[in-house]
């Protein structure tokens, strides 16, 4: 078989007899749950956020079922509260938490190194190097979890999750050892201080046992070789070391926490110069130095961004790479953009025309920041938009209600926006909130969420009524708008921004990437260039389907336009997704809807 790391993990989870898997989407972890939901015998779900996902998994484990929670690196911040105490309780069925880190921030707001969580929460962490190991290590993690009565962290990174490689097949499901059912174990399930104090001792004793295990673990292996340079490495960095220095001796750590101190000491003593090669933080290096061992690490290897073979080779053997590279050519950048027909665009177009601070959030709509819209002024983490707007209004004081607007996607609102809205209402905020309800979690690839009306398997599910929810929270002014009707929306946004009371506008129109929409009959908008006066109203939407053609000297007159006209705009009918925002802005009848000619 040839699988991505995420496909291999889904396979491993099915093989390991996982009963319950819960996760929240987040690049690069998302496809694990998507693939796992296709296997029989595993209950899978999208949770509203990572904390809920982990709590679901803890419950399943307490009931004796093997359980998996999946999330991206920042998701573990959200789930950190249950994580740190589940470290005390352990479970009954094996409990594995998958964290997918994103060095280089391909699709993330930071590049934290989640190995630090293993140390801080006192949990074992396994770290595979490729898809084949991802599957094996996941199965191993369940055994370890039950053997030591501990949750186990499995850490992957983008270049494991989204790398495809050869994996032995086919798989076979082994039912987990325990039969699920209710059992009461207050001494380990009820973390009141008296019990927690006893479990605290257990945790230390457990980590001692885990350390002993690590010493003899075959996944912590020494690969013999030239001992002039010795490498300690783990995860994807191992691959770069093997390619840059194929002849060298390597200690590959499959378990990156706790560390096999004896094995490390022996390896260090057997090589002339020791190098610790790891992406991001000096996690191994700090521990190895604390053992009193001299080594190179972040003095040579960058602590920021991804590594690759060339970076590792040049850092350690600068004389070897001499080939000159072709110089880069300066080109217009090509940043990601909202799709043609994206409902978010109309809202940001309107916001760009108002003098407000737009307190933003995370999702496709974060792209409202980019030119020509430039209509998003802050992004910190999921859910932050609403409390941050509230904080700004309180800091500014009287008359601030029309200076700040917050925007949040439907999935993000359900993830962690609701409590913020409760706070704003409870504490008397008056900053307008716009919920960009495109019915789906678009950024990560169209996963359904509790407001979508479907489950992870695409089956019908209860759909959260956002209007009713906002009213129940105490918002008196809740309005639903169609974001594609741009001028109409502008009127409503203005009214609500000026209102000196909390209000919510729900901008509702489905994401254009939803399969139902992609399959519909190809109707779209086209331009009647004869009518175009070059006012650029439509161009300022920044839609990828609309482009501007400038006139050459004298061309405008020659073609029968006003002398002063600078050019015209045109719609690419293949790209157009039929939203009509441009037509709603055109005052010159230059944009019409119809079937493509």
């Amino acid at each position: 078989m040839w699988l991505s790391g995420n496909e291999a993990i889904a396979l491993g989870a099915w093989e390991a007899g996982v009963r319950v898997a819960s996760g929240y989407p987040g690049t690069p972890s998302t496809e694990i749950m998507e693939h796992l939901s296709g296997y029989d015998g595993v209950y899978t779900e999208w949770a509203p956020n990572e904390k809920v996902a982990l709590e679901v998994a803890i419950g399943a484990s307490f009931a004796g079922g093997r359980a998996l929670a999946t999330m991206k690196h920042v998701g573990l911040n959200v789930a950190a509260d249950p994580l740190f105490t589940a470290a005390y309780t352990g479970g009954r069925g094996g409990l594995v938490i998958l964290t997918a880190d994103d060095p280089d921030m391909h699709s993330s707001q930071n590049e934290q190194d989640n190995r630090n969580y293993a140390l801080a929460a006192k949990l074992p962490m396994l770290e595979p190097s490729d898809p084949a190991e991802s599957r094996d290590f996941l199965k191993r993690a369940f055994v370890l979890s039950e053997q030591l009565d501990t949750p186990v962290l499995l850490r992957i990174t983008t270049r494991i999750a989204h790398v495809k490689g050869v994996v032995a097949g086919p798989g076979e499901r082994i039912e987990a050892p325990l039969a699920p059912g209710v059992e009461k174990h207050p001494e380990k399930f009820v973390m009141l201080p008296a019990m927690a104090r006893r479990r605290r001792l257990f945790v230390e004793e457990r980590m001692m046992r885990c350390r002993e295990l690590a010493e003899n673990d075959s996944d912590n292996r020494i690969e013999d070789g030239d001992r002039r340079r010795g490498f300690i490495t783990s995860g994807v960095s191992y691959l770069y070391v093997k390619e840059a220095f194929p002849e060298a001796a390597v200690l590959k750590l499959g378990m990156c926490w706790p560390l096999p101190e004896q094995k490390i000491r022996e390896f260090a003593a057997s090589v002339e110069t020791l190098y610790v090669v790891e992406e991001l933080d000096p996690f191994l290096e700090t521990q190895i130095k604390a053992m009193g061992i001299i080594c190179h690490g972040k003095d040579l290897i960058p602590a920021i961004g991804e590594l690759n073979t060339a970076i590792v080779r040049r850092a350690i053997d600068p004389g070897r790479d001499t080939a000159e590279l072709f110089e880069p050519v300066v080109l217009p950048p090509r940043p990601p953009n909202m799709c043609p027909g994206c409902p978010h665009r109309g809202i940001f177009f309107n916001l760009s025309r108002l003098k407000v601070f737009v307190s933003g959030d995370i999702g496709c709509y974060t792209l409202g920041f980019l030119p020509p819209l430039n209509a998003l002024d802050s992004t910190v983490c999921m859910g932050a938009s609403i409390p941050m707007a509230h904080g700004m209004v309180k800091a500014i004081g009287d008359g601030a209600h029309d200076k700040v607007v917050s925007v949040i996607g439907d999935s993000t609102f359900v993830h962690s926006g609701i409590t913020g809205l409760i706070n704003s209402v409870y504490n008397g905020s008056a900053a307008t909130l716009i919920i960009l309800d495109n019915r789906i979690t678009a950024m990560t690839g169209q996963q359904p969420n509790p407001a979508s009306g479907t489950s992870i398997k695409g089956e019908p599910a209860q759909s959260l009524d956002l209007e009713a929810l906002c009213r129940a929270i105490g918002v008196k002014h809740v309005r639903v708008v169609n974001p594609h009707e741009v001028p109409e929306c502008r009127k409503i946004i203005k009214e609500e921004v000026e209102r000196d009371e909390m209000s919510v506008i729900i901008a509702r129109a489905p994401c254009v990437l939803l399969p139902e929409l992609k399959l519909r009959k190809p109707v779209g908008y086209y331009t009647n260039i004869d009518n175009c006066v070059g006012c650029t109203s439509c161009i300022r939407l920044g839609c990828p389907a609309i482009s501007w053609t400038p006139f050459a000297e004298g061309e405008a007159e020659a073609r029968g336009y006003k002398k002063s006209q600078k050019g015209y705009s045109q719609i690419d009918e293949v790209l157009c997704n039929d939203c009509g925002q441009c037509a709603s802005l055109c005052k010159f009848n230059a944009i019409t809807r119809g079937e493509p000619k």
């Binding site: 060339a310 072709f326 217009p332 990601p336 482009s547 501007w548």
Partner: protein, 197 residues
């Protein structure tokens, strides 16, 4: 030393690079190579500049192509072919789709699309093969087969028989567009042969 070969796929999110790189990988796997492929999902796919990196050989460790190490660049868009020049080396082959997709700054009239992209490429010590995949795809009867036409052009430069590619394409494309995809592949193969300057 390792016998690994590296193919860099570049283009714009949404052009079908994932499918094209997938077909190529399965063809190489079918003839016994170890293959790793690295791609980026999520944010970058929204119309941004994207790559897929494919490495094959007896045994492949790293999933990433180092700068200066791509033996072939399969560029789905002209300007993107230029963007990834630092990944090539002297003597690399660049198969470039002559399609232009305007980035936002160009579409809104703030910047200009670079002129004479092919000349820019040809002024370096690399082999440039220009393919009009859009026209090939239209002639094949379905504009969305442009990516398979490009696989055809690429396939001529790989140690894999035509039939192996055909079998894989047949099993990987939707049935109702099979004939169009096969036609696009065959025409693409023709267009991908070495070209005289």
């Amino acid at each position: 030393m390792s016998d690994n070969k590296n193919i860099l796929f570049s283009g714009v999110g949404g052009q079908g690079i994932l499918l094209a790189s997938e077909i190529t990988a399965y063809a190489l796997l079918a003839v016994g190579f170890d293959v790793k492929k690295s791609e980026v999902h999520g944010m970058a796919q929204r119309g941004g500049s994207v790559t897929a990196q494919l490495r094959y050989g007896t045994k492949v460790y790293s999933p990433l192509i180092d700068p200066g190490c791509a033996d072939i660049q399969m560029a789905f868009e002209m300007m993107e072919a230029v963007r990834y020049l630092p990944y090539l080396h002297q003597g690399s082959t660049v198969i470039v789709n002559t399609q232009q997709i305007l980035p936002p700054s160009v579409a809104t009239g703030q910047a200009l699309y670079p002129e004479n992209v092919l000349d820019e490429l040809r002024s370096r010590a690399i082999e440039v093969i220009a393919v009009d995949a859009f026209t090939i795809a239209r002639q094949a009867g379905e504009v969305r087969t442009a990516n398979v036409a490009l696989v055809g052009a690429l396939s001529v430069h790989l140690p894999v028989d035509e039939q192996v590619f055909q079998d894989i394409i047949e099993s990987r494309v939707p049935e109702r567009f099979r004939a169009e995809n096969m036609a696009a592949f065959t025409a693409g193969r023709h267009a991908g042969r070495r070209q005289e300057r």
